[in-house]
C-alpha cells in the first residue's frame, strides 16, 4: 500500500458548524469561580489545549473562539457501558509553581479514571506547539508549571487527557465525581456528573482499524536504552517480544489491530517473523519454531491481552512471512523444487497452527514487493501490469496444495491494490479473498465493491494518519469513509514511525500514532490524542453495528452522513471518471487526482467537532429513543 494515493481525501479543513455535543455545550468550562488564582478547565476531546491555555487553532471552527460561559463548574458526561468517555483538562497557574491534580469517582461505582499528561510537540515547520503524545501518570498527580521536561518558554498551562472507563456491569444511572487542581493553598474544582446509559458497547469491532509497521529494527532505534542493555541479543530477547506484545496491546486497547510485516522487498525475512528452515528441495522443512512461537503464540492464543480491559483474545489478522524467496528459494522458481519447498513448509505451518489451536486468526499470504525495489520481476503490491497476475495465480495454486481443504486454520490471500483494482476484482476472483484497496480508486467502484463483498471477500481501504497540525477529528475521516462504504476495515500504512525528534523538532507525526515511552521510563509505547479520538469513534461504530438489528444499515448511514456534513451516502462516492476506461498503464498521478477532484468539496471545511453530534445521535438511538 502507499500513502499518496489517498492523500487527496485528507485535505482536512473545516465545514459549517454543526451542533456541538449538548453536554459539552461550550468548548470549555471555566475554573471554579470560588478561586480565580488557579484554573482547571475542561474541553471536549476534539478541542486540544495548547501550553498557553488556548485551544489549538486547527480545532476551532471558522470564526470560532474558545468559548467561556462563566458559571459552569460541572462536567456533564453521558456514556454507554463497556467503553470510554474522554475529555481534556487544562491546569492553569497564575505563576510558575507546583500543583497537584486528581480526578475521582465514588469508589463503589466501579468507574475507573485514567489520567494522561499531554506532551506538546514543537513542530519544525511553523514553530508551534501541538499536543499529541499522552503519558500515563498517577492519579493524583503532582508536578509543576512549566513542565521541566517539555521545556516550553512561557508555558502557563498543562493539559491532561482523561479517560473514564465504564465497565459493562455498571448499573445505568448518574454517578458523581470531581476533578481538583491544587497549587499551594489555592484550589480549583470541577464536579463531574456522569450519566451512564443502558446502552452497551459491543465487544466486537465492527470496523477493523489496522496500524501497520515494518520489521523490528525500529524498536532498537526507539528504545535505545533497552536495546543497549540487551546488546547483540536484543532481537532474540524477551525484551523485544515484550515490546512487540506491548504495541499489540496498545492498539487492541484502542479498538484497533497491529500488523508487522516481517520481510523485505528482496525477500529477506527477519528471524523473529518466521520459523527457521533447513534443507533444500524435497528435504526443505521447518527446523525450529522457537522464535516464531515466542513472538506469535501469546498473540495467537490471546494470552498477550489477558490483563487488558477488553480481555484475552487472539489477534484478528497476521502477516505470514511468505514471499517469493520464502519458504521456497527463488532459485527454484518455475521448477518442481519450488513447489516442493513451498508445500512442505506451508503444510507444516498449517499443522503447527492447527495443533496449537490458532484458528481464530486470519493468516495472510501477502506480497509486498515492488519491481522498483529490484528484488523480483513482478509487482506483488499495487500491481500495475496485467502480466503480473500470473505469479498471483501460481501462489494460489501452491497455497491450495499446501493447505488441506476444510482446515480450521484460516489462510487468506491478501492483495493491496490500486491501479488495477477494478481489473483484479475480476481477474483474481476466487484467488484473492482479502483486498486492501486504494481509497481513491475504490471511490468510483461502488457496484464492484458490492459484488466482491457479496462473494464473501474481505475489503479494507488504506491511507495514513493526519499530522498533528491538522484538526483533531481529521483522524476519523478515513475510518469513517470505510464505514460509509460498508467495507470491513481500514489500515494506516505506518503508525509507529515518529520523527527523528518527535518531542522538540516534530515533522508532523503523520506516520506515528504510538510514541516510544522510553524517555518517560516506560518500556513500551504510549498513546496519542489521535489514537484516543479514533478509539472513541470506533466505539460508536460498534454501537452502530449493534443498531443494525433494529435499523437498516442504509438508514443509519443516511443519518450519520447528514450529521457529518449534510450529505447523502451516495455523495461519498466519486462518479466514474473517463480515466477509468483507459488501461491503468496509461494513467498518471495528476490524472487520478483530477479524476476525483469534482467530489473533493464533500471532504472540505468539516467542523472539527462534527463527530460530537453524531456521537450523541448514536447514543440516543442506542438508548431506544428516536432522536431528530
Amino acid at each position: 500500500m502507499s500513502f499518496w494515493k489517498s492523500m487527496i481525501f485528507r485535505s482536512g479543513h473545516f465545514m459549517q458548524v454543526l451542533a456541538l455535543l449538548p453536554l459539552f455545550s461550550t468548548a470549555t468550562h471555566p475554573f471554579s469561580p470560588q478561586d480565580q488564582a488557579v484554573q482547571l478547565e475542561v474541553s471536549s476531546e476534539y478541542s486540544r489545549p495548547d501550553p498557553f491555555g488556548a485551544i489549538v487553532e486547527a480545532d476551532l471552527g471558522k470564526n470560532e473562539k474558545r468559548a467561556n460561559d462563566g458559571d459552569l463548574n460541572t462536567i456533564q458526561l453521558r456514556a454507554a457501558r463497556n467503553g470510554y468517555i474522554s475529555f481534556h483538562l487544562t491546569a492553569k497557574l497564575p505563576q510558575d509553581g507546583p500543583y497537584s491534580l486528581s480526578v475521582n469517582f465514588q469508589k463503589e461505582s466501579g468507574i475507573q479514571v485514567d489520567l494522561l499528561k499531554t506532551w506538546f510537540h514543537l513542530r519544525r515547520a511553523d514553530k508551534k506547539y501541538y499536543p499529541d503524545a499522552l503519558i500515563p501518570i498517577t492519579n493524583p498527580y503532582k508536578a509543576a508549571i512549566p513542565d521541566s521536561e517539555n521545556s516550553i518558554p512561557g508555558q502557563t498551562a498543562q493539559a491532561f487527557w482523561v479517560d473514564v472507563w465504564i465497565p459493562r456491569e455498571t448499573a445505568p444511572g448518574v454517578y458523581e465525581g470531581d476533578a481538583t487542581l491544587q497549587s499551594g493553598s489555592k484550589r480549583s474544582s470541577l464536579k463531574i456528573q456522569l450519566q451512564v446509559s443502558q446502552a452497551v458497547i459491543p465487544e466486537d469491532d465492527a470496523l477493523i482499524v489496522d496500524h501497520n509497521s515494518y520489521g523490528t529494527s525500529w524498536l532498537a532505534q526507539l528504545y535505545p536504552k533497552l536495546s543497549r542493555a540487551q546488546g547483540e541479543a536484543f532481537f532474540r530477547s524477551d525484551a523485544v517480544f515484550g515490546l512487540i506484545h506491548a504495541y499489540h496491546r496498545l492498539f487492541y486497547e484502542h479498538r484497533g489491530a497491529f500488523h508487522q510485516l516481517g520481510y523485505g522487498h528482496a525477500g529477506k525475512v527477519g528471524p523473529e517473523f518466521a520459523p527457521a528452515l533447513t534443507g533444500t528441495g524435497r528435504e526443505k522443512r521447518i527446523a525450529s519454531w522457537e522464535l516464531f512461537d515466542r513472538h506469535y503464540a501469546p498473540l495467537l492464543d490471546g494470552s498477550a491481552f489477558a490483563q487488558t480491559r477488553r480481555g484475552a483474545r487472539p489477534i484478528p489478522f497476521a502477516y505470514l512471512p511468505i514471499n517469493p524467496e520464502w519458504p521456497a528459494s527463488f532459485l527454484a522458481w518455475g521448477e518442481p523444487g519450488y513447489e516442493a519447498e513451498f508445500v512442505n513448509v506451508v503444510s507444516e505451518m498449517e499443522r503447527h497452527f492447527r495443533a496449537k489451536g490458532w484458528t481464530r486468526t486470519k493468516f495472510e499470504m501477502f506480497f509486498n514487493h515492488k519491481k522498483r525495489y529490484k528484488g523480483f520481476h513482478w509487482d506483488g503490491d499495487e500491481t500495475r501490469f496485467p502480466k503480473d497476475d500470473t505469479p498471483f495465480l501460481e501462489f494460489n495454486r501452491l497455497l491450495k496444495k499446501a493447505v488441506p481443504a476444510g482446515s480450521p486454520v484460516q489462510f487468506v490471500y491478501r492483495l493491496d491494490a490500486s491501479w488495477r483494482l477494478e481489473d483484479q476484482f475480476k481477474s483474481l476472483a476466487g484467488v484473492v479473498n482479502f483486498w486492501v484497496c486504494s481509497s481513491t480508486i475504490l471511490s468510483w467502484l461502488p457496484e464492484q465493491l458490492k459484488s466482491v463483498r457479496q462473494r464473501g471477500d474481505i475489503v479494507w481501504t488504506y491511507s495514513g494518519p493526519p499530522a498533528i497540525n491538522e484538526p483533531s477529528s481529521a483522524i476519523l475521516e478515513n475510518p469513517l469513509r470505510a464505514w460509509m462504504w460498508n467495507t470491513d476495515g481500514y489500515v494506516h500504512w505506518l503508525t509507529v514511525g515518529p520523527s527523528a525528534d518527535p518531542w522538540f523538532n516534530s515533522e508532523g507525526e503523520a506516520t506515528c500514532l504510538a510514541y516510544p515511552g522510553e524517555r518517560f521510563g516506560i518500556a513500551g509505547p504510549i498513546p496519542s490524542i489521535r489514537l484516543k479520538i479514533q478509539r472513541n469513534f470506533l466505539q460508536d461504530i460498534s454501537l452502530l453495528k449493534a443498531l443494525e438489528k433494529t435499523h437498516s444499515p442504509d438508514f443509519l448511514r443516511s443519518e450519520v452522513s447528514k450529521r457529518v456534513n449534510g450529505t447523502k451516502p451516495g455523495d461519498w462516492w466519486n462518479p466514474r471518471p473517463a480515466l477509468a476506461n483507459l488501461p491503468p498503464e496509461e494513467w498518471n498521478n495528476p490524472g487520478i487526482e483530477q479524476a476525483v477532484a469534482s467530489n473533493r468539496h464533500h471532504y472540505q471545511d468539516w467542523n472539527p467537532q462534527y463527530w460530537q453530534a453524531v456521537h450523541q445521535y448514536i447514543l440516543k438511538l442506542a438508548e431506544g429513543s428516536q432522536p431528530q
Partner: protein, 194 residues
C-alpha cells in the same frame, strides 16, 4: 530418530556457516568474495542483462515531471525471462561460499552514461552502494574505476560491508554493468526488513 539427528546436525551446520563470515578477518573475507567476483564476470551474460528492462520503462525512467514525481517508479518494469535467468545466476554465485553473500547486478544506461542502477538485488538485501529506494543514481567513483579499467575492485569501509565490484560484459566485449559481490563480517538480520 536417525533422520531427526541428521537434521539437527544440518541446523547446527547452517547456524555455524551463517556465523562463518563473522569469524573471518576482513582481509580473508575480501579474498573469498574476490574469487566469487571472478566467477561472476565469467558467468553473468551481459546481453541477457541488457534485455531485462522494458523499452517502455527505460523511456519513462528519466522523464522529469514535476507534477508526477513517481512516474519513473510507477512505470518501472522488467522482462521476466532475462530477469529470472540473471537473478538465478547471481543466486548460484552467492552459494559459492557457505555464508550470506549477495550478488547484485548494476547496469549502465545508454541513455544516460553518468548514471547507473541497481537492477537485481538478492535475499540478504546488502549493498554498500545502493541508496535504498532510488531507481538510479550517479556512478560512484569506485564503480567508475572498474568500468574504466575492466578490473575488479574491492571496497571496504563503512558499515563493515565488503563489496567486490566486477565487470559484466556483453558479446561485443563491452562492459555493460557490474556485479557487486557483497557480504559483511557482522550480519544484520533486521536491516531492510521493510
Amino acid at each position: 530418530m536417525i533422520k531427526r539427528c541428521l537434521s539437527l546436525a544440518f541446523v547446527a551446520f547452517n547456524l555455524s556457516t551463517i556465523g562463518y563470515a563473522q569469524t573471518q578477518t576482513h582481509k580473508s573475507l575480501a579474498l573469498e568474495l574476490e574469487e566469487v567476483a571472478r566467477v561472476a564476470t565469467v558467468m553473468v551474460d551481459g546481453d541477457v542483462c541488457q534485455r531485462i528492462m522494458t523499452e517502455r520503462a527505460l523511456k519513462k525512467l528519466f522523464v522529469v515531471d514535476p507534477e508526477d514525481q513517481w512516474a519513473g517508479s510507477d512505470n518501472f518494469d522488467v522482462n521476466a525471462e532475462p530477469f529470472i535467468q540473471t537473478k538465478k545466476t547471481l543466486m548460484r554465485l552467492a552459494k559459492l561460499r557457505p555464508y550470506p553473500i549477495d550478488c547484485n547486478l548494476w547496469m549502465l544506461f545508454k541513455e544516460n552514461p553518468r548514471k547507473i542502477q541497481i537492477l537485481i538485488r538478492n535475499q540478504y538485501e546488502m549493498s554498500r552502494f545502493w541508496t535504498w529506494g532510488v531507481l538510479y543514481q550517479d556512478i560512484p567513483p569506485e564503480m567508475a574505476e572498474v568500468l574504466a579499467s575492466g578490473k575488479p575492485k574491492t571496497v571496504v569501509g563503512k558499515n563493515d560491508l565488503i563489496s567486490v565490484l566486477t565487470p559484466v560484459y556483453n558479446s561485443l566485449g563491452e562492459i555493460v554493468g557490474l556485479v557487486e559481490v557483497v557480504s559483511r563480517a557482522q550480519m544484520n538480520w533486521q536491516e531492510n526488513v521493510k
